[in-house]
């Protein structure tokens, strides 16, 4: 056991993705006693996901070709030399203390669960996001996976999710997923992108200021062309079929308004469907601390931050996807600003502010060009599962609305148990909000969670924080 004073930091960063890594290296460079805590086995977050370090196992070198910007990653990791690093440490809540914050952590190194408390004067929260999902008939069949999950299997474990993969949903992220799978030997049957190929034409201003990002997209497009992977725009997967696992999916074309074109059904035999509709920021920790939020262009609830990445709560900074989904480059810049300011530096380089502004414009353009097409609720049947954990069907939610005249998130939880399962509505929260006809992310009680991960009672008892947020 180290003593309390040894565990007191000036700046503690939660999350070792692009935003958190940049924040920690900037804070330590500016002279702050810095710690970085991440639930994962290796630094990198989602974008720079790396295999667990091992002897004779899956090596970082083996997955290097799947990565972009590895030089930046290595520079950031090298910058952590003087930083206290806690990997496989899950922050389950954060509370206030007289001289800062108490970070309640579950140490999962070596398979067990031990409660640990870390103290810090200032916090930088960089918890990232997860794939946003919308339900459709058959989406609960094994073999239907999130696009990010398929990517994580590949980057983190060197495993291709299945022999024949169809990639679907919306957003530029679908391209690296398809390209990576194909480079790793999967038969990628096609990318079905719901957006129109013309969408970006109205966003030229943002695109021109971000030629680098375009370059990354173009390199994936070339890779797809080389592997002869067809990209179908204005196309959606409307259902998945199979008995004990997905065997086939049905796709349909969308018209200009995003409605399915009747008669355009095509059925394709697959082993895996990788699907994603953008990302949902993880807001448990900022919400537990009372940080102010807003609804972003993509309909996601995100943290409100000022020009210096400060949240509305004194001493708490937020960086990366948690203050607006925008990709790794934006996350890195925001992290650098947050780390510099949290360490007490008086000014932020104008270069950083300019690049953040340009990348944010690009992100907004991306959101406007890749909306979740309306009309998906009409394609649900009464027995389509909406909440996967509690097995709540669309029919159950509908009859709650019709028979009981209940339309809010809290009623949905109490009356149908939707969102009450293990995942605490992370997976179905957006969809339930849309079904109830409310602005998804504002649905009360769907984004706030008492703890950021289910814990065993033993670990909870052992930690007993003096003050709960």
């Amino acid at each position: 056991m180290t003593s309390k004073s040894e565990r007191m930091f000036d700046v503690l960063v939660v999350g070792a993705g692009p935003a958190g890594l940049a924040a920690a290296t900037s804070a330590t460079r500016a002279g702050a006693r810095t710690a970085i805590v991440d639930a994962g086995v290796a630094p990198g977050g989602q974008y720079w996901r790396h295999p667990a370090p091992s002897e004779d196992g899956v090596s970082a070198a083996e997955v290097a070709h799947l990565h972009h910007g590895l030089a930046t990653y290595h520079r950031l990791v090298a910058g952590l030399r003087a930083v206290a690093q806690f990997s496989e440490h899950h922050v389950w809540t954060v509370t206030r203390d007289t001289d800062g914050f108490v970070v309640h952590v579950i140490d999962r190194t070596g398979g067990g669960e031990r409660a640990v408390e870390l103290r810090s004067r200032r916090l930088i929260l960089a918890p990232g996001a997860y794939d946003r999902q919308i339900p459709f008939p058959g989406w609960d069949l094994p073999g239907v996976m999130t696009a990010g999950g398929v990517q994580a299997l590949l980057k983190g474990h060197g495993v291709v999710a299945g022999p024949r993969v169809l990639v679907a949903g919306t957003g530029p992220f679908l391209l690296p997923v398809a390209a990576g799978l194909s480079e790793s030997g999967a038969n990628v049957l096609g990318v079905h992108e719901a957006a129109s190929p013309l969408a970006w034409l109205s966003e030229l201003g943002a695109v021109i200021r971000n030629v680098n990002k375009l370059g990354e997209g173009a390199s994936y497009a070339r890779m797809l062309a080389r592997h002869r992977i067809p990209v179908h725009t204005r196309s959606v997967v409307v259902s998945a079929h199979g008995t004990d696992a997905v065997e086939r999916v049905t796709t349909m074309r969308l018209d200009r308004k995003g409605r399915v074109v009747s008669g355009s059904e095509r059925t394709i035999a697959v082993d895996v469907l990788a699907v994603g509709w953008g990302f949902t920021p993880q807001l448990e920790l900022p919400l537990a601390l009372g940080c102010a939020t807003r609804v972003d262009v993509d309909g996601s609830l995100v943290c409100e931050v000022d020009d210096e990445q400060r949240s509305s709560v004194e001493g708490v900074f937020v960086a990366g996807e948690a203050c607006g989904v925008g990709g790794a480059a934006l996350a890195t810049v925001e992290g650098e600003i947050a780390g510099t300011v949290a360490a007490g530096a008086s000014s932020v380089a104008p270069r950083l502010r300019r690049s953040r502004a340009a990348l944010r414009r690009f992100a907004q353009a991306m959101h406007r060009s890749h909306p979740v097409p309306a009309g998906w609720v009409d394609r649900l049947s009464d027995n389509t599962t909406v909440c996967r954990c509690e097995e709540v069907s669309f029919g159950a939610l509908r009859s709650m609305q019709q028979d009981l005249d209940a339309h809010d998130g809290r009623s949905a939880k109490m009356l149908t148990r939707a969102g009450m399962g293990y995942c605490q509505a992370r997976t179905c929260g957006y969809a339930v909000g849309c079904i109830l006809g409310q602005e998804a992310s504002r649905t009360s009680g769907f984004a706030e969670r008492p703890v950021s991960s289910p814990l065993t009672l033993g670990a909870l008892a052992a930690s007993s924080p003096t003050e709960r947020a």
Partner: protein
């Protein structure tokens, strides 16, 4: 150099160090290892990053382990999780 294995419902599953139980099962062609509490439907990996809790299974007698996060270890005994995974204690 022989490859390490763990057992899954009685059969031997090879893995490479650093892989999760879920990744090794996927590589071995296994797609589901849980049946849901109500409808008894099969589930396997969905989010792949510890968010959705679809991939729960039993590791060395302990239920509700996330296959996508739990690293495979030689000699581990892994089994399908039925319902809550608590056998006849199921409520």
């Amino acid at each position: 150099m022989s490859q390490p294995h763990f057992s899954f419902d009685g059969s031997q599953i090879p893995f490479r160090p650093g892989q999760s139980v879920g990744a090794a099962l996927t590589a071995a062609g296994v797609r589901s290892w849980r049946s849901t509490r109500r409808a008894g439907r099969p589930r396997g990996l969905f989010c792949g990053i510890g968010v959705c809790f679809d991939c729960l299974l039993v590791v060395d007698g302990r239920p509700n382990e996330r296959a996508c996060l739990r690293l495979a270890e030689p000699g581990m005994e892994v089994s399908t999780q039925e319902g809550t995974g608590h056998g006849d204690l199921e409520v």
